[in-house]
């Protein structure tokens, strides 16, 4: 394959997505928007895992699917995290009548 995609391109895409996700976490005040930005960051990490798995050279005792299995577990944990996060946001919304994370400051006073 002469025109194969270089490994760096995937890494750059993942790095850019991760930075955008970080900016989203810092910029948004709505809790659900922050959760969405966290999902972007997790997906960027997954792309890195799979790209290194596909391009790298494997030690034979590590099994044939290291990066893919790691990405599957990350997806599992992300799903659980979103379920608990939405529950928490709904609880906070019921108490403060707002999904604004700047108002969730009960620990600071």
């Amino acid at each position: 394959m002469s025109s194969d995609i270089p490994l760096n391109w995937f890494l750059y895409f993942a790095a850019a997505s991760f930075s955008i996700g970080l900016m989203g976490v810092l910029l948004r005040r709505n809790a659900i928007a922050v959760l969405m930005a966290i999902e972007i960051m997790l997906n960027a990490a997954n792309i890195n895992l799979v790209a290194f798995w596909r391009y790298g050279i494997h030690a034979p005792e590590e099994g044939p699917l290291t990066g893919v299995m790691m990405a599957i577990f990350v997806i599992t944990i992300a799903a659980a995290e979103v379920a608990v996060g939405i529950g928490l946001i709904l609880l906070c919304y019921r108490r403060w009548h707002s999904a604004d994370i700047d108002r969730f400051d009960g620990l600071s006073r």
Binding site: M1, W9, F18, I20, G21, E39, V50, A80, A83, Y93
Partner: protein
């Protein structure tokens, strides 16, 4: 060919990510997020991990984004109210943090030095072939790439059986935790739907406890309790 495809898909993905973090309307942000998830699935296909792409579509687009949509609908500030705008004082620090992180990561990707006796991975331009050779033995990874569903299943119950069980435990704990978080015993205004449902079911649990002092049937008693609450 594949390079052009990658560039087009990546551009769309970055645009979708930027739209996710900038869209005023949260439903629009959620739809941009679906586009980004789809782009990530396309990247997995470009990386020849089709099984993972299917999981991505099923779990992220099918479950996570729908859950986020439910969250948006239940918190009811969809339109551009005060919580969905970008606060003024945070724009510059967030831009500095994001661009700085990207610069650091890009520097690391560009100037990577390989380990001892190994070439730098940042120079890797071609991937190992995934085609099964005509003669000779194919490597385990080649076989796994060409038959990924089966390989993932075998790996999950042999090498990764402990993480698999722990993930199952984590999912159970998350399920119980989400239910416990969303369900509350008391409520300030009595507007909790769970409380109302309990009030409706109480006469069935204790039919001799008549709240109105009248020999009513359980159905009308439940109606009056609902009206009172």
């Amino acid at each position: 060919m594949s390079q052009t495809l990658f560039l087009a898909i990546s551009t769309l993905g970055l645009l979708a990510a930027v739209g996710t973090i900038l869209a005023r309307n949260l439903v629009h942000a959620g739809l941009y997020l679906v586009a980004f998830f789809f782009v990530v699935a396309c990247q997995f296909i470009l990386l020849e991990a089709e099984f993972l792409a299917v999981i991505q579509v099923l779990v992220y687009i099918g479950a996570v984004s729908i859950l986020l949509m439910f969250g948006i609908m239940l918190t009811r500030n969809i339109q551009g109210d005060a919580t969905t705008t970008v606060p003024q004082g945070w724009t510059l620090p967030a831009l500095v943090a994001g661009l700085g992180l990207f610069l650091v990561l890009g520097f690391g990707i560009n100037n990577h030095v390989g380990l001892k006796n190994k070439a730098a991975w940042s120079a890797t331009a071609t991937r190992p072939s995934s085609e099964i050779p005509k003669e000779g033995e194919a490597s385990p990874r080649t076989l796994a790439i060409n038959n990924m569903g089966q390989a993932v299943g075998i790996e999950l119950v042999t090498r990764y059986v402990v993480p698999f069980e722990v993930a199952g435990l984590l999912l159970t704990a998350a399920l119980v935790g989400a239910v416990a978080l969303a369900y509350r015993e008391g409520d300030d205004e009595g507007t909790n739907p769970a409380m109302r449902a309990r009030a409706e079911f109480e006469p069935l649990d204790a039919p001799d406890q008549n709240r109105n002092g009248q020999p009513d049937s359980p159905g009308s008693a439940s109606l009056t309790t609902t009206a009172k609450s």
